[in-house]
Subunit: 195 residues, 2 copies
DNA sequence: TCTATTCTAGAATAAGAATTCAAAAAAGAG
DNA sequence: CTCTTTTTTGAATTCTTATTCTAGAATAGA
């Protein structure tokens, strides 16, 4: 019937996401997005409506694929507190020295309460908070979490720490120092039985 | 000899700073900056060279006056750990429900390693880190800090938490929850003598 | 008071960005 | 094979933004 789209949606979204993470919503021009996605401006408008529409789709992709995948990979339910720690440590290990940062953090700061982005920012933060809270609650049950720690309060603290680390990485702070910080924080969370 | 400037430099910088905090460097247009400063574009260019020059001056002003003043007010050397806690708590109490955020956090995220902003971002973070480290070291000496805590490591952690809180405030997270988090964190830092 | 100089205002300019448009191309349905 | 529908493309357009220019106003010292 009609001519089918010739591009691969997932690779287009990946490219757009990359550009938005690196440059922010405002600075990523349609020109940049053409390069990043391999599509021409016309096709972008035809497929996504406008720049905001592409951002929307790219953010959705980020939350589901990148963030979701990261959680699956580093912090599945079976990995306990150590998994959470690995998730945090991975923030300091972005490939080839680049620090694109997190679309959630970057958008929260750049766009504030902007309605469209707000939805995704909240969804992403919720996803993180829930994983933190679940892992901490489980750790409390199996005794690996210090008994005097409130899982929900600690989950919120981890969320703040997570966002803060991303800011510091983006600002070029010394990564080894940040890793020591993460190690120390998780050491504090763990139950340690004195002999 | 020559006509002197008719504006008040400090109030101009305050206005510009406000606009940059609210909207970010990119989104704050010269038009917006005219309104925010009360100057006309011509005067802005005459006095500060260009938009980047005004941003530079406004950032300098932020670090010296706003951040410096905040530290003086909430966390002078005499106030100890409680002063630091108050400084953190004040982040959740911006006047009239607005959350302009911190120019340091916002610029770190928006501008990344951009050379001009980088200088100020680093200066601001350094200023915070040094205050945290000094207060923690002093608290260690007077015994109000838990003895097993490394002041430098804890200072870095506080810096991350500080930046993270600002991201969460900007994203509209529940402020009371964030305040509880701060209270809990400082409770953890303090030495508590069991009777 | 006059003059040199700098400030201010607001229009003009120029560059860059987002978005739209019109024509060419592709692919399946009949 | 042709027709229809939608995508693709690249140019055209419209908007916005940063920056410059020009004329007029203000000031302090000669």
């Amino acid at each position: 019937m009609s001519r089918p789209r010739s591009y691969n949606e997932s690779s287009v979204l990946k490219g757009a996401m990359h550009a938005f993470r690196r440059d922010g919503y405002q600075r990523a021009s349609i020109r940049d997005l053409e390069d990043a996605t391999g599509l021409k401006a016309g096709s972008i408008y035809n497929s996504f409506g406008d720049k905001a529409g592409l951002f929307d789709a790219a953010f959705e992709h980020y939350n589901q694929v990148v963030l979701g995948g990261r959680i699956e990979r580093f912090a599945p339910a079976t990995a306990g507190l150590a998994g959470l720690r690995d998730l945090f440590t991975s923030l300091m290990h972005e490939p080839n020295g680049e620090s694109h940062g997190c679309l959630i953090t970057n958008s929260a700061v750049e766009l504030g309460r902007n309605e469209d982005a707000y939805r995704h920012v909240h969804a992403g933060m919720d996803m993180l908070f829930k994983v933190f809270a679940e892992r901490l609650a489980a750790a409390r049950h199996d005794g690996s979490l210090r008994a005097d720690i409130d899982p929900l309060l600690a989950a919120m603290k981890l969320l703040a720490l997570y966002q803060g680390l991303l800011v510091l990485v983006r600002a070029g702070q010394d990564k080894p120092a940040l890793e020591r910080l993460v190690a120390a924080e998780f050491h504090e969370l763990e139950a340690h039985y004195d002999i």
